[in-house]
C-alpha cells in the first residue's frame, strides 16, 4: 500500500497521534460493515473510500491544489456548494464524527459543547485530520451558538469566513440570505481569483442538483414497503461520504447504486427478513464515522429506512431552479432552496414537524427514533414538538440523547431493544 505517512507529515499532521484513529477504524468497520450480509454490490465503492478515508480523497485534493484550485471546508448544509464550484473551487465537509477528536476540542471549548463541534475543533487543533489541514479556507454559518463561538477559536488558526444565516423564514430573511450568498460569491472570487459568471453558476447549479437527484434516488428505493434493498448503515455511509466526494462522481456512484437497489426491489432482494420493523431516525447530524446508533438499531432486530437529518433528507431535498440568466436571479434561487431547509435553528419551525410526518408516511415507518447529540439545545428543545406530533399521529417514538462515546452502548441497546419489542 502506498504509504500515506509522508503525505500526512507534509500536511503538518501529528502522525503518531493520528495513528490511534487509524488503529480503531478497521475494527469498527469490520464490526459494523463486514458483519452485514447481502449488501448491495455497489457499496464496494464506499467501502473502498472508507478503507483509505484519509488517503484517497486528500491525495486528490492535494493534486487539485497543485493546479491552483482552492479547497473550501464547510460545516453545514447551508453553505452553497454551487458558488464555490462556479469559481472552480472544491468543497469538502469538515464535520468531526469521532470521539477520537473530542478531547482535543475540550482543551479549548466547554465540556458542555456538542460533540460535533468539539470533534471539529479538536481535529483542527490536534492536527489529526487531513481534510482540516488541506482546506484553504473554512466557511462557517450561524446555525448554532456552539459553532459561532468555536469559529472565533478556529479563526486564530485558519482563514475563516462566516455566513450569517437568518433564524426566521420571513420574506426579508430570504432576501437577507440572498445577499449573504452574493457576498460569499464575492469573497470566493477574490480568494480563487476566478470570476463567477451566470453560465458557470448555472453549470454548478446543475451539477449539485444532479448529485441531489442521485441521492434522492437512493432514498427513493428505501421507500419500498415490502423490501429493504439497503441497510440504514450503508445508506448513512453513502450520505456521509457525499460531503467529501467530488459531486460528479458522487452522482455517478449513487445513480449506479440506485439502479441496483431498484433491481433488488423488483427481485425482492432484501437485507432484512420480511416483517423487520422500519425505523426512521430524526434529529442531529451523524458525521463520519459516527455509525453507533444505526448499528445498534440494525443489530437489535429493526432496520433504518430513512434519516431526517443533515446527513440524510435535509442534505438533498429541494432543488435549485436551473437556467436563470443573471447572477441576481440565481442567488435568489439559491436562497429560496436553502431557506427551505427546516433546521431546528429556525423559529418558528413548523416545517420540520410536517417533513417528519410526511417522511414517516413515505417511508412506511413503524417507529421513529428522535436522536439528539448531547448539548444540542436546539434539536433537544424541538424534540418536544416533534415527539408530541408523532404521538398524536399514532407513530411510536423514542427520544434518545447520546454522543460519540461508546460508554452508553449497553443502555442504548436496552432502550432500542425495548422500543423494537414494543413495536411488536
Amino acid at each position: 500500500m502506498a504509504d500515506r505517512r509522508e503525505m500526512w507529515k507534509a500536511l503538518g499532521m501529528d502522525v503518531d497521534t493520528h495513528d490511534g484513529l487509524c488503529a480503531a477504524l478497521p475494527v469498527a468497520f469490520g464490526d459494523v460493515y463486514l458483519s452485514q450480509k447481502n449488501r448491495p454490490e455497489g457499496m464496494a465503492f464506499w467501502d473502498f473510500v472508507v478503507s483509505d478515508i484519509h488517503g484517497i480523497r486528500p491525495a486528490e485534493l492535494l493534486e487539485a491544489q497543485k493546479e491552483g484550485r482552492k479547497v473550501f471546508g464547510t460545516f453545514c448544509v447551508f453553505v452553497p456548494d454551487e458558488v464555490v464550484v462556479a469559481a472552480n473551487g472544491i468543497v469538502t465537509g469538515l464535520c468531526g464524527g469521532s470521539q477520537f477528536w473530542v478531547p482535543d476540542g475540550e482543551k479549548v471549548l466547554p465540556k458542555s459543547t456538542c460533540p460535533l463541534v468539539k470533534a471539529s475543533v479538536g481535529a483542527r487543533l490536534g492536527r489529526t485530520c487531513p481534510f482540516f489541514r488541506i482546506a484553504d479556507m473554512y466557511v462557517g454559518e450561524t446555525t448554532c451558538d456552539g459553532k459561532k463561538k468555536a469559529y472565533e477559536i478556529l479563526g486564530e488558526d485558519v482563514p475563516m469566513y462566516i455566513m450569517d444565516l437568518p433564524q426566521m423564514k420571513r420574506e426579508c430573511d430570504i432576501l437577507k440570505w440572498k445577499d449573504e450568498i452574493a457576498a460569499f460569491a464575492k469573497k470566493v472570487e477574490e480568494f480563487t481569483g476566478n470570476t463567477i459568471t451566470p453560465e458557470k453558476l448555472d453549470e454548478a447549479i446543475r451539477l449539485i442538483n444532479n448529485k441531489r437527484k442521485a441521492l434522492a434516488r437512493v432514498f427513493e428505493a428505501r421507500k419500498n414497503p415490502d423490501n429493504i434493498p439497503i441497510s440504514g448503515t450503508d445508506a448513512l455511509l453513502v450520505t456521509q461520504i457525499a460531503f467529501f466526494d467530488d459531486p460528479a462522481r458522487c452522482a455517478e456512484m449513487c445513480n449506479k447504486l440506485a439502479d441496483e437497489l431498484e433491481e433488488r426491489n423488483r427481485q425482492g432482494v432484501s437485507v432484512f427478513e420480511k416483517g423487520t420493523k422500519r425505523i426512521m431516525i430524526t434529529g442531529t447530524p451523524m458525521a463520519i464515522p459516527n455509525w453507533k446508533l444505526h448499528h445498534i438499531v440494525e443489530t437489535s432486530g429493526a432496520a433504518v429506512v430513512c434519516e431526517e437529518m443533515c446527513t440524510g433528507t435535509r442534505y438533498f431535498e429541494n432543488l435549485v431552479e436551473e437556467g436563470l440568466p443573471t447572477l441576481d436571479e440565481q442567488f435568489m434561487a439559491l436562497s429560496k432552496r436553502y431557506m427551505k431547509n427546516n433546521c431546528a435553528c429556525f423559529t418558528p419551525n413548523p416545517g420540520r414537524v410536517e417533513d417528519i410526518l410526511r417522511l414517516a408516511k413515505e417511508y412506511h415507518v413503524d417507529g421513529v427514533i428522535d436522536v439528539n447529540l448531547k448539548f444540542c439545545c436546539l434539536y433537544d428543545t424541538e424534540g418536544y414538538s416533534v415527539e408530541r406530533a408523532l404521538r398524536e399521529a399514532g407513530i411510536p417514538v423514542l427520544g434518545i440523547e447520546t454522543d460519540y462515546d461508546d460508554g452508553d452502548s449497553e443502555q442504548l441497546r436496552t432502550r432500542i431493544g425495548a422500543f423494537v419489542e414494543m413495536l411488536g
Binding site: 404521538r391 411510536p396 440523547e401 460508554g407 452508553d408 449497553e410 443502555q411 436496552t414 432502550r415 431493544g417 425495548a418 419489542e421 414494543m422 411488536g424
Partner: protein, 259 residues
Amino acid sequence: MTTYYIGIDIGSTCAKTVVLAETEEIALSFVLPTGWSSVDTAEEIRRRLCEAGYDPAELACVSTGYGRVSVPFARKTVTEITCHARGAMLLHHSRDLTVIDIGGQDTKIIRVEDGLVKDFMMNDKCSAGTGRFLEVMANTLGLRPDDMCDLARQGGGVSISSMCTVFAESEVISLIGKGEKKENIAFAVVDSIVKKVASQANRLEKGGPVCLTGGLCESDYIRQALGEQLHTQVQAVAEGRYAGAVGAALCARDLMKKG
C-alpha cells in the same frame, strides 16, 4: 404434569430467578448478588435450579436485565422494559398501569395500555435517582439501604442539591461533618431520589394504577413518598422485586406456545 417456565433477571446488583407454573403461580424464586461476573452468577443459578428439580436444559428459559446476554442456557433475551411490564401486569392483575422500577443502575417508567407497552422512559447514563445512588449514600452513612429508608421517615428539614452521585456523596459527608442527625440526612437522600424519579415519571403520560417494582418496592416509605410527589397512590406487592423475572418467564411461555 404441569409445565414450568424459567425467567432470569440479571440486574447490576442482584440476579432474580423465578420458576413460573402453567397456572401463573410462582413455584420457586430466589435472589443472588450479581457479583463481579454475570457468567459465574448464571452458572450458580443453573446449579440451584437443577437442585430444585428445574433443569433449564429441559425447560424454556428467557433472560433479561443488564446481564441478559451472559446466560448461556437462556433460549432468548428480552429487554427489562418488556419483562417488567409483563411481570407487573401479572403481579398487579391489571392490563392498564404505569410501572416504576427503581433499578440498581437505571430507573424505568413504563406505560402499559391494554396489555402492551405504550411508552417508556429511562434515566440517562448517570446514576442519579437509582438504587445505586441510594446504596452509595447508605454506605456513607454506615447503614443498610433498607434501614436508611426506614430511618428517613423520622427525618426532615435537610435537602441534597446535587444530582450527581459523586457530588451528592460529598454533600452527605459534609452534612455528617456538620453533625446533622442521621435521620435527617437519610430523609434528604430518599427525598432526592424520589423527586428525581417523580420528575422523570411526570414527563410520561400516566394512566391506570402506578406500581412500584424492583428491590426498592419493599420500602413502604419510598412508596409513600413517591405517592406524595406524584399525587397518587403507589402500589407495591411482596413479589415486586421479581417482576422482571416473572415477565421473562412469561416470555419463555410465549416461546413454547409459538413453538
